[in-house]
Symmetry: C2
Subunit: 227 residues, 2 copies
Amino acid sequence: MGPSVSGVGVIDKATQVLDALEEAPRSLSELVAVTGFSRATAHRLAVALELHGLVRRDEEGRFALGVRLIALGRAAAEAIPLASAALPALEALRDETGESVQLYVRQGDRRVCIAALESPHGLRTIVPMGASLPLEVGSAGKILSDASNESVGTESSPNRRPWVESVGEREAGVASVSAAVAGPDGRALAAVSVSGPIERTTRQPGRRYGDAVVAAARHIETAAGLA
Amino acid sequence: MGPSVSGVGVIDKATQVLDALEEAPRSLSELVAVTGFSRATAHRLAVALELHGLVRRDEEGRFALGVRLIALGRAAAEAIPLASAALPALEALRDETGESVQLYVRQGDRRVCIAALESPHGLRTIVPMGASLPLEVGSAGKILSDASNESVGTESSPNRRPWVESVGEREAGVASVSAAVAGPDGRALAAVSVSGPIERTTRQPGRRYGDAVVAAARHIETAAGLA
DNA sequence: ATTAGCGTCTCGCATACTGAGACACAAGAA
DNA sequence: TTCTTGTGTCTCAGTATGCGAGACGCTAAT
């Protein structure tokens, strides 16, 4: 293996084990194959993580992500004031549009949902808190991709509207529209989204909900003391 | 520091950092005080965890649990078939009793909520998925304490009823009743609970809901293929 | 103006981690 | 049924890594 990326090689390896288990429970041999570690190293790391509850064994003896991560994930979400500050605005947006709403932040080359409220309709999109999605697809992904490259809303930005829509990108039959929740420097800290089935949102969800999403983003910035 | 508890000292230390941050965001100095590590060590570990998204800096520059934990927590919950298998029985229990219901598993000397449904009443208890609570208080804690020591339901068990109730233990004004979800060997794998304000549950929630909770535990065992 | 405390970084040294290989057992192949 | 292969677990000699005292720059407190 090459030099440590973080300065602590064991942490690099331990997080590779967790990443490998995020996809599915794995036998030791699968873990060795996926991570490239020697069998002794993969075993030692997985058992150490198991002792701390970050990994567990499933009914078939395979390594799986442990219950401690559920508690830590909850605590992580609670420690993000943006998520709790956003809740009133998310509730108002869900009530006004009748569709499911989410708040995402960027995590490397992906986005993670840090708050979610579901539509009362029987047919609705469900993105649970904690869901991790790629940046390449979906309107929120595009908002958060921009965040690393340039400020949203400047003249040079390809995005001249204050919202982005997508139709059938993340999932067939689903459309969404998102707006940036900007920090003091103008960069997108988060993306607020409305999503639902195309048959209700239409193929132009931006026309239908864009103003409401942008207004919700402004309310969130105010509630979080960002503007 | 003494010898490693898990066989990998860095993982022991890294999880101590995460545990310290679970309570609240902390400055580096606070992290040093809480963990007992040298400042250089605490800094190096926190920055390494930050690089992997397990830790982040809040607006004040303090270390806090990172967004990656939300995604891992979600994946951990999804990998527990018991939680998804339990949902129909939890829904039925919530509908029958009108109160909030939860499913807990044991995590060391604590219990973690792996599934939760809330009562439709305005006044209701809220235990979010991922919530981590001590074993010493609350009916579910007692169910899961027993799990390590002896099989629930044997003659030697202090618990002769198939459910346990508590009144005002975890939180003033709240009562709950729980039953064990047992594995093939009779040990409690999980605890299913009904909880609500004392004014609705009365001071004898067991008389009111005990049968329903036990029936739900049986349904969960069947749905999960444990019985 | 001075001192104390903070976060970040360096680098010599001690030790903790690595991984080849052994072992026991189960599963698969002949 | 017997033999072979694959699995999970464990050991231990060697070495690469992580540790922490101390330096540094900056900010806050005195």
